[in-house]
């Protein structure tokens, strides 16, 4: 959503690109043959992992977008607790049968992974765009460069946090 | 404490004798508790944080009381090549104790050594200060059982 902070530049960019999959649009399946994908967030549950692998398979340039995707960040703050069970118990009470997030045969929500991972841990990442969130200027720069087909050189433009 | 004082006196309360004094204290009391460390630090004029830093740097010093029996598993290369890891795992499983810990009943403390220098006897254990060579998971467990059966029975 920090993408939207580009404000009106979003409209300028829209003329150059074809947005095919996004939380702000209604295409439900990730298409094939995508040129550039910005992936935000860390891998916290098994759906995330599946989706990430699919995206990687169908994308030419994959950009880890934001600190969670780049480094785990706040999402990974639960990692020192090692096992998600106590985290779930804290929120949902002690009874596992009443608890979402576990490996049950008919789980309606994706089970949590033991350790939250950044994207790199699972797939090859082409570019890293850190920041919590990355600044709109930076996003615009990155997208402009990538759309123009240039190799990204972020140097000291970006940092974690 | 008297013997500890004597040891410190022998070293003329030199701050550099700290490690020697800690050895003595551990021999006397079995482990180093915070009170004892404070006492030594005060006597040798070494700041408390430094005493604690030294005591926790070295593997031999224990800040927790040990169990009635101690089992040292050698993790030296020769022992490792000959399967000491399996022995360690068997003891951990069987006695419900982790390395560095003591069984809940306070009977057995499990520790590891980086090499006992008894490589000719690999894999080797030290059970209550006695080296046992050419061990297998079964013989190791049997020896530990012998302690506990004897003491608990």
């Amino acid at each position: 959503m920090s993408l939207l902070d580009m404000d009106e530049r979003l409209l300028d960019l829209a003329s150059l690109i074809d947005l095919v999959y996004s939380p702000i649009m209604d295409v439900k399946e990730f298409p094939e043959g995508v040129d550039i994908t910005l992936v935000e967030g860390a891998v916290a549950n098994e759906d995330n992992a599946r989706m990430l692998r699919l995206v990687r398979e169908r994308t030419d340039v994959l950009v880890a977008f934001g600190d969670c995707a780049v480094a785990g960040n706040v999402t990974a703050l639960r990692n020192p607790i090692a096992n998600p069970l106590p985290v779930l118990q804290r929120s949902y009470g002690p009874d596992p049968s009443r608890m979402p997030g576990l490996h049950t045969p008919d789980a309606e929500v994706p089970p949590l992974v033991t350790k939250v991972e950044n994207l790199r841990a699972l797939v090859r990442v082409d570019y890293y765009l850190p920041g919590c969130p990355p600044s709109a200027d930076l996003i615009f720069f990155v997208l402009s460069e990538l759309v123009a087909g240039r190799t990204l050189n972020l140097q000291s433009r970006a940092t974690l946090g | 404490m008297k013997m500890l004082d004597a040891a410190m006196k022998r070293h003329r309360h030199q701050p550099d004798s700290l490690i020697e004094i800690l050895h003595t204290a551990q021999e006397l009391f079995g482990y180093l508790d915070v009170q004892c460390l404070k006492y030594v630090g005060h006597a040798l004029k070494v700041p408390p944080s430094r005493v604690y830093g030294v005591a926790t740097f070295y593997n031999i010093f224990s800040l927790k009381p040990r169990g009635a029996h101690t089992c040292v598993v050698c993790l030296g290369t020769a022992c490792y090549v000959k399967g000491t890891a399996a022995i360690l795992a068997a003891i951990e499983r069987d006695q419900h104790v982790e390395v560095g810990g003591t069984t809940p009943d306070g009977q057995v403390s499990l520790v590891t050594a980086r090499c006992l220098g008894a490589c000719g006897l690999a894999p080797a254990l030290v059970l209550d200060n006695e080296i046992h060579g050419a061990m297998t998971p079964e013989t190791a467990l049997a020896r530990i059982k012998a302690w506990t059966d004897h003491d608990r029975g």
Binding site: L10, M25, K28, V34, T75, L77, Y92, V109, S135, L146 | -
Partner: protein
Amino acid sequence: MKAETMAQTITIEPVSRVEGHAKITIHLGPDGQVQDARFHVLEFRGFEKFCEGRHFQEMPAITSRVCGICPVSHMLASADAGDRLLAVEIPDTALRLRRVVNLAQIVQSHALSFFYLSSPDLLLGYDAPPAARNVLGLAAAHPEIARRGIRLRQFGQTAIELIAGKRIHASWAIAGGVNASLSAAARDQILAALPEAIETARLTLDWFRASLPSHDEEARTFGHFPTLFMGMVTPDGSLESYGGRLRIIDAHGRLVADQLDAAQARVLLGERVEPWSYLKSPFLKALGPDEGAYRVGPLARLNVAQRCGTPLADEEFARFRSLSAGPVLGSFHYHYARLIEILFGLERIGELLDDPSCLSTDVLARASRNRLRGIGMSEAPRGTLFHDYTVDEDGLLTSVDLLIATGQNNLAMNRAVTQIAKAYLHADRLDEGLLNRVEAGIRAFDPCLSCSTHAAGTMPLVVEVHDVNGATIGRIDRRA
């Protein structure tokens, strides 16, 4: 995917044009009729656990990372809880600035919800091609509206940035006040941008009001049912977003409780857990999960308030309240209420900043921890947000409870999807546009699912860019 005998389940995943990751399952009976529908929230982070052991004064910074949409609301609720742990009255200017920032946040978030996420349905139609049914499609069809919407959101974001500081906004509000006062230049810049924003809000309201008759059906079916409502008011019952008290009314407009502080409200609320969703469902404990279901957010706030308290918004408020004899029950009117709140927020920001005291540098009260429990709250764009902290003597958290706006609408959202599904869907009638209506019903609540499950990221919602002719139309449903 489950294969039930004869019965079918329809899954909509991901629910799009909402903040966060969710799915909807619709269960059809053997006769092809909708039996039940569920709204599943698929993200979970565990803030409540891993914040244990942290110091309460870090919480505004940490919890503002709960959500990318309403970080300010978390920061302010957290700072409010911190104020209570310190047991201080924060300086007037600090409260004033916190209010301005929270209103700016409401403006930007509401603009996001309305223009970026929901207006494609309203302007392009529920049955428009999915690939074009988004803000970029909107920009193509109605460039002026899209641009105005974007600039309206930009106003809110810029105001936040000017007051709370760019990027480090997370550490601006702290227990005891705020850590930076407002410069005259920043104030002038915000005030200068106000007229255009107000103009946009009014134009949008005019257009929306005029289009209302065409949305009559949605107003009746998109979650139209009786519930309780909860929202923040001033002592005299006007609309308030921060530093006020809570009021709860029933579906007939009768007061259930009034002028509650956060702690008093907190004890009234229970939470239900469902293994099929990460989102818990709060309800009014005394009435149970059915009778005690309540709604929060713009609709609820306008229902509990007697007036907005600013001239233009009050004019619109009167029109809004005339929709119904009692409280407005149709969840579709969240959209209407949202637009009114934008107008109110802009007007109120003007009033708050016009007072010279907003530039005072007395913005922080210093104290050490004086209590062991502190419950703070703010009105987030989506509704009331509680932060409930318990600390040890050193101020380290022993318990953290975040009661989030979206969660408080969970029971209502589940009821709404069932109502919409029953109204529109049948085994023989399952086209994309109809399913989109189910999602649109959820969108009216503007749920923030990252928030609701204390999530920070939004994997795997991806934005991507495609080359020419790449317009792939995805499947919208999966049947098992």
